[in-house]
């Protein structure tokens, strides 16, 4: 069958690094060059005269007629489909290849076709892998709980995720292609360009949340939104692409304000209480003392962190045995409270001026629940002076 070519042409084609087949109108292989033999795993004598479907075939589920398409492409050698459509090659081992083909009519009278084959299997696989990675990354960006805004070298928006749409009240379709400074209050716009330009020229590839102060965004309804921002830059073909991750901190700031207000209220109540109050950790170390408790102690240096039963307001008894017995009793009471027991008793304190006070004394556990676990987080020690209510002995 190789008589289809003269010897000089055959020598040229056998020298070509690109795989070449010549087939006739019926789809029979009339010639394959050395590169085609190497690609497909066949010798010329094995394949010449065989149907081209031996080595190029449709895949299961496809209805493509290979010979008809080769003829179509031969009639239209610059068809756009040639860039995108690939045929499936089947090599001798049974493995499949994705083949990019070009076709030319070799002999109009006999309708022989010259077909060049290029193995694009790895190229297609890599292309697919990149597309899948892009899809996964894009889906993550689309649904992530921070607003993501990309901008080009001219600071025009190129990407705007769903959270950004919700945050700023504009759709991606409305903002893409527009200046990113539209997302900033007017008073920041002039300096913003300078900041971005400085970042573009800086050595650092990224600036993370926490490395810079709070910024302010402008929603479509005119509301100014406090934001934390991270920014990174990627240079593509020498041009920067900026990607900004924005976190709405309105809720966090409101929670911080509410927490501070609550702390202030409870701090006031704690400090203004007539009872002496101490907050003690489960091991007995003093965490806090209110003003009434501090007034009893006078010098509070060293009181915080000290074991509750060693505070100087307990009577300094000359009888060491009795003093130790009382300390152990208080230590035991704290330990029992740390296990959840509420303790209330009458106690005796000595103030700065060595005045004795009879105290209605209690230890109460402060519970903390984390998940299904409930534990004593601290102990509230309270003492109410009832000296005036107790008949003198």
């Amino acid at each position: 069958m190789s008589d289809v070519l003269g010897e000089p042409a055959r020598r040229v084609l056998d020298t070509l690094p690109e795989a070449v087949l010549i087939i006739d109108a019926a789809g029979r292989v009339r010639y394959l060059n050395d590169a085609a033999g190497e690609l497909l795993g066949y010798g010329a004598a094995e394949l010449e005269g065989c149907d081209v479907a031996t080595v190029i075939a449709s895949q299961p589920g496809q209805r493509v007629d290979v010979v008809a398409w080769l003829a179509r492409w031969a009639d239209e050698p610059n068809s756009p489909q040639l860039r995108y459509l690939t045929l499936t090659g089947r090599v001798r081992s049974g493995a499949q290849l994705r083949l990019s083909v070009r076709v030319a009519q070799l002999d109009a009278r006999r309708r022989d076709y010259l077909v060049t084959l290029r193995d694009v299997t790895a190229e297609q696989r890599e292309h697919q892998d990149v597309k899948h990675a892009y899809l996964v990354a894009s889906r993550i960006l689309a649904i992530c709980d921070d607003a993501i805004v990309n901008a080009d070298k001219d600071f025009n928006v190129t990407f705007f995720n769903r959270k950004a749409e919700a945050l700023f009240g504009v759709t991606a379709a409305e903002i893409v292609g527009r200046p990113i400074e539209r997302l900033l209050p007017q008073r920041y716009r002039a300096s913003h360009g300078r900041h971005i330009a400085a970042f573009r020229d800086a050595k650092a590839p990224s600036r993370l949340m926490g490395e810079r102060g709070e910024i302010v965004g402008l929603a479509a309804n005119g509301e100014e939104i406090p934001l934390e921002a991270s920014i990174t830059k990627v240079f593509v073909d020498g041009e920067p692409i900026f990607s900004v991750q924005l976190r709405d901190i309105r809720a966090r700031k409101a929670a911080e304000r509410a927490r501070a207000a609550s702390e202030q209220r409870f701090r006031t109540m704690f400090e203004r209480a007539l009872e002496a109050i101490a907050l003690v950790d489960p091991s007995g170390s003093v965490l806090e003392l209110n003003s009434a408790a501090r007034a009893l102690l006078g010098d509070t240096t060293g009181a915080l962190g000290r074991k509750f039963w060693l505070l100087p307001w307990w009577p300094r008894l000359a009888d060491a045995v009795e003093r130790e017995r009382r300390e152990r009793a208080m230590q035991d009471a704290v330990a029992r409270c740390a296990r959840g027991e509420e303790i209330r008793t009458r106690a005796e304190l000595v103030d700065l001026r060595a005045q004795r006070h009879v105290i209605d004394f209690s230890l109460r556990p402060v519970w903390e629940t984390v998940g299904d676990d409930r534990a004593v987080a601290s102990i509230l020690a309270e003492g109410r002076d009832i000296t005036s209510l107790v008949p003198p002995t």
Binding site: Q59, Q81, Y84, L85, Q128, L135
Partner: protein, 106 residues
Amino acid sequence: MPRVTYIESNGTEHVVAVPVGVSVMQGARDNLVPGIEGDCGGLCACATCHVYVEPEWAKRCGEPDELETNILDFAFDVTPLSRLSCQIHVTDALDGLVVRLPERQY
């Protein structure tokens, strides 16, 4: 804006808004719907945006022309409801369109 439902071969549904005039293929790509590749970008030249139009929508989507019919040769598991989604352009009349995606585009 008309809404289009894309149902992946595994049953996952994506309901997205697609502007009038935009192709069903582009609507999928813009909304990160997996399973529609659209390698040629809408030239009707690659058969990687193959979909099955739900029967009740087939008539409103129209018939494929000769080029599309030819290119469908390269799609997999083609049925009478097969279309290349780059050749279906969204109109208000297609609000609610449902298309199913094949198991493979390559």
